[in-house]
């Protein structure tokens, strides 16, 4: 068994590192490609977090089983072969996971300038943030990779009979006295299904509407392109050509899909921007006071929030006259009423509080009527803006109720952020 491990481990390391380097290079190329940054990040993450580990697990060169043809000619005892197979599969998982961890730490270092973990991410939930933070993030991806790895190890390592029919000649399978349950074709289906299911699972894990549709199609398309191309063309042409063709399809396909879906994505992004702006507001609101809020308002150039921004800025910064401010606010409120734009209402509400014009739960109720889709974030904003202990307590109770009722990912994240910040506040007290 030791001789098998000595033979395979250095080669698995070499092989895995080689593909890891390829994956990093491909990701880097994607990042500098003219593709929309959200999608280049998504594809880069897709390659590193999914294609790389799947390759590591399923590549025949990393299987002891694929080499059984010659291993069985050696005097290595059969039990040792099976044990070595299991050990090597575990090693593959640990080694590739280590590389993924390193990737993640690099990303953390790159984005934060430190290895310090963000507050909202615990070590058991580490993952590489893909795309812009509000568009596409893989929570639990590292843990998820472990799950996939475990399943792969179970299927292909610990139960080598699953692999037997596919990789071994019948006689070799018999030598190990294995009963094969799965055909070679079926094994391929298992591998493909695992890859697709992995993608679906981690896509759903994010639970962001529209994300699944677009990215799933993109991911499935890329996977299908590579698989079908390799499998159909390799029998006709030299093996290098289908690989090149697959990469061509990969890049052209992904680029074209971005172009085609650009408008849809753009719209989607604007909607997301509006929602996540609120979260950003909350963060800055809490940490740096109202001045940051107004900087944010001033920086805004797009989206419907501008409707209120300009008016507010005029009212607050250009003219301190209370009457004019009130008049402006009244105009703003009227406009917000007719447009049913909750962001507009929020801006109005915050400004009211900032100017000390109004600060009561009446406004919160008013706000709630205006933003039925994002009640939770409205409530949260109201909570932060609450001027009195009573207001705060009332807003908190609204938050609690809404957090219980609203289970979608967006609102759950708002709640998580709220819980975290509240815990900090309590700790400070």
């Amino acid at each position: 068994m030791i001789s098998l491990l000595k033979f395979f481990i250095p080669n698995i390391i070499k092989n895995t590192l080689f593909f890891y380097a390829l994956a990093l290079t491909a990701s880097a190329l994607l990042m500098i490609s003219p593709m929309h940054s959200d999608y280049s990040k998504t594809l880069a993450g897709f390659i590193i977090m999914l294609v790389f580990p799947l390759y590591t697990y399923f590549n025949a060169n990393n299987y002891l089983s694929a080499s059984l043809g010659w291993i069985l000619q050696t005097p290595v005892p059969k039990l040792s072969i099976i044990l070595a197979n299991g050990i090597l599969n575990l090693f593959k998982i640990v080694f590739s996971s280590l590389l993924l961890l390193i990737s993640w730490l690099i990303v953390i270092l790159f984005e934060n300038g430190t290895f310090e973990l963000p507050d909202s991410i615990s070590f058991s939930r580490i993952g590489i943030q893909l795309g812009s933070p509000h568009d596409f993030s893989i929570q639990d991806s590292y843990f998820f990779i472990f799950l996939v790895s475990g399943a792969a190890a179970l299927l292909f390592g610990i139960l080598p009979d699953m692999l037997g029919k596919a990789q071994l000649q019948r006689a070799q399978a018999q030598q190990l006295n294995l009963k094969s349950f799965i055909s070679k074709g079926a094994l391929k289906q298992v591998a493909i299904a695992t890859a697709l299911m992995s993608f679906v699972i981690f896509a759903e894990n994010n639970e962001i509407p529209n994300f699944i549709t677009y990215n799933l199609v993109l991911g499935l398309g890329v996977l299908a392109s590579i698989y079908l191309t390799l499998n159909s063309v390799k029998y006709v042409y030299d093996i290098k050509k289908p690989i090149a063709a697959a990469f061509l399809i990969f890049f052209v396909g992904s680029y074209a899909s971005v172009k085609i879906g650009n408008q849809q994505i753009s719209n989607h992004k604007i909607a997301l921007d509006e929602r996540f702006d609120l979260i950003n507001f909350l963060g800055s609101f809490q940490d740096n006071g109202y001045e940051t809020l107004f900087k944010e308002l001033k920086a805004g150039t797009e989206s419907s929030i501008d409707i209120g921004r300009n008016d507010l800025l005029n009212a607050v910064q250009l003219n301190k006259n209370k009457e004019i401010v009130n008049e402006t606010l009244a105009q703003l409120n009227d406009r917000c009423n007719t447009q049913t734009d909750h962001t507009c209402r929020l801006a109005s509400y915050i400004t009211n509080i900032r100017l000390g014009v109004k600060s009561s739960l009446t406004d919160l109720d008013f706000l709630r009527k205006g933003c039925p889709k994002d009640l939770l974030s409205c409530s949260l904003l109201g909570l932060h803006a609450a001027g009195t202990q009573e207001d705060h307590a009332a807003a908190h109770s609204v938050m609690m109720i809404e957090c219980k009722n609203r289970k979608d990912n967006f609102n759950q994240r708002v709640c998580t952020n709220y819980y975290n910040s509240r815990s900090k506040q309590i700790a400070k007290i």
Binding site: F7, N11, W70, L72, P75, Q174, Q175
Partner: protein
């Protein structure tokens, strides 16, 4: 000294019997040609000896040890060459073989590279990139260099070119001359006529006969005919065994079934019965049965 003793061994695949109560023995230092039609169980016997297939019934002693005891260490003494074996690893053969050698107690790496030089085979490529014949050369070289005492060669010589076939057959003869034992299966019977010492013929899941090559045609006779119209040639024990360069046909029959003196002198074939004649005779008998 017997290095293989098989007694009533049986093996079936999916209820299809391939070997049925087969018994045979192989002496040390012999070069045995294992013959039989496609699907007659030749490769199955080799795989059983390699421990790659488990016996359903019967006993088989290899170097005096029972195969049922799963003696993996015996693989230092046995080398197997088969198209099913694939050095499936992304490593040039020149690098792979020294690693492969470490699994064995007496692998002669120098001999391997010497043979590669003899047949002018470049070893700087991965196994999968070689032609079918080249792969067989590599496998034969690995088997010969393994330091084994028994070589099981499964239908590989037929894919070799004339030069390398002669080279490896000479190597195999040299191997037996030094006390090694070879069992070779082939469908090209004529190629083993000149170098094997024994013949083991499988037919209908059983050993039809096992005999030294020199006595293989003792009980058979051949006649030649231009038109095949002689009445005795219609005898059910008389089979067409081939055509001759003069356009005549050769027929083979067992002496105890057909009296050669009943044929005119002109039809007598003095060249003697070859292994191929015998193979055809038994194959046709099997077909008629």
């Amino acid at each position: 000294m017997k290095i293989i003793e098989a007694k009533n061994i049986s093996k079936s695949f999916n209820d299809n019997p391939v070997l049925s109560k087969v018994s045979f023995a192989i002496e040390k230092g012999t070069f045995t040609a294992l013959l039989g039609k496609n699907g007659s169980g030749k490769s199955t016997i080799l795989n059983i000896l390699m421990g790659e297939i488990l016996l359903d019934k019967g006993d088989c002693l290899l170097f005096g040890r029972d195969l049922k005891s799963n003696p993996d260490d015996l693989k230092n003494k046995i080398a197997h060459v088969s198209e099913k074996i694939f050095f499936a690893y992304p490593m040039a053969i020149s690098k792979f073989i020294p690693e492969y050698a470490k699994f064995f107690t007496s692998f002669d790496t120098k001999l391997f590279f010497q043979m590669a030089e003899d047949v002018k085979l470049d070893l700087g490529r991965t196994f999968g990139t070689y032609s079918r014949g080249q792969k067989m050369q590599i496998l034969l070289m690995a088997a010969l260099a393994q330091g084994a005492e028994l070589l099981l060669v499964d239908e590989v010589t037929s894919v070799l070119d004339a030069f390398s076939r002669n080279y490896f057959i000479a190597r195999l003869k040299e191997f037996t001359a030094k006390g090694g034992t070879v069992i070779l299966t082939t469908n090209i019977v004529s190629e083993v006529q000149n170098f094997c010492t024994d013949v083991l013929f499988l037919s209908q899941n059983q050993i039809k006969f096992q005999t030294p090559l020199k006595s293989v045609g003792e009980n058979f006779k051949k006649v030649r005919s231009l038109d095949g119209k002689h009445p005795l040639l219609k005898n059910q024990q008389c089979f067409l065994s081939g055509t001759n360069s003069d356009g005549s046909f050769s027929y083979i029959f067992p002496q105890n079934k057909v009296n050669e003196k009943d044929f005119p002198d002109l039809m007598q074939d003095k060249r003697g019965v070859t292994l191929e004649d015998l193979y055809i005779y038994h194959s046709q008998r099997e077909h008629n049965d």
